[in-house]
Symmetry: C2
Subunit: 143 residues, 2 copies
DNA sequence: ACCGATTTACTTGACAGCATGAAATATTCA
DNA sequence: TGAATATTTCATGCTGTCAAGTAAATCGGT
């Protein structure tokens, strides 16, 4: 298709690349302020909502379960996360954020300027348009 | 500010997170098809446009120069990149894509479906709107 | 114009984190 | 009992940082 060579599409792709870079910068910067890596911050964010079995963390991160072991190890060492047995299945271990972990996750969310700064210049109407375009891009038809 | 708690903004931020995840999936998948890591693919893409001194690669990647040494080492081992002296300054080494490197970079770009698939559902008018919104988000006022 | 001190470019080595894959253990389920 | 599942451990490779080292350019004072 002509899609690839068309200059408008190329520019949009380039802009998306810039957004991706910016997103990571902000995310890693916010994480580093709490001496966390990006991966640790991401997992802590997940666990601040609900405890999860290791297996499901791996699914969300799209990585091997053996990798999650190490990430949870580091968070656990720092007292941000704890492992609990799952009463329903003694094979699984639930990773849960501790009180301190939840607090850190909250501070992390608050420190993430990405939500505020770049979007601040857009009106509500523009954000709605952007939301709908992104939804369509991602193939989730507007419900 | 109310910006953070407003649900429209939150949804847009979440969608951007999804775009970021999708972007990486596609990028890493395309790179893996050529047995390259994401970082290697990124550097090869840069060098396929023009040779660059190690220092500038580090600037573009926002990482330490010592890190670039290893990435270029691996690409050089595979014959995709070569180091050349800079005639103007004997301290600097220019990394340049070889013929095979440029070919791989081209195949990589062609295999990157991100440009086609998610944008394919959008009309030209919609892409223009998206482009302008992204530009404003990134703070580059439309020239 | 020269020379020593500083700065710049790159590399090396040590170390931590993320990621994979294979093998081991414990538990569940058919 | 035997197959499947959840987690961990181990070996390995890549990315990233930082500190130290080498080589080359540049600057300032004479």
């Amino acid at each position: 298709m002509a899609t690839r060579t068309d200059s408008l599409t190329l520019e949009v792709v380039e802009l998306i690349g810039a957004v991706v870079a910016r997103y990571h910068e902000e995310y890693d910067r916010a994480a580093a302020e709490h001496s966390l890596t990006g991966a640790q911050a991401r997992v802590l964010g997940l666990l601040s909502l609900e405890p999860l079995p290791m297996r499901k963390i791996a699914l969300r991160l799209k990585c091997e379960p053996s990798n999650v072991t190490g990430i949870i190890d580091r968070l656990e060492t720092r007292g941000l996360v704890e492992r609990r047995p799952d009463p329903a299945d003694r094979r699984v271990k639930l990773a849960a954020a501790t009180e301190e972990g939840r607090r850190t996750a909250r501070e992390l969310r608050d420190a993430l300027d990405f939500a505020r700064e770049p979007l601040a210049g857009l009106s509500d109407a523009e954000r709605t348009v952007l939301r709908d375009l992104l939804r369509r891009m991602l193939g989730e038809e507007t419900p």
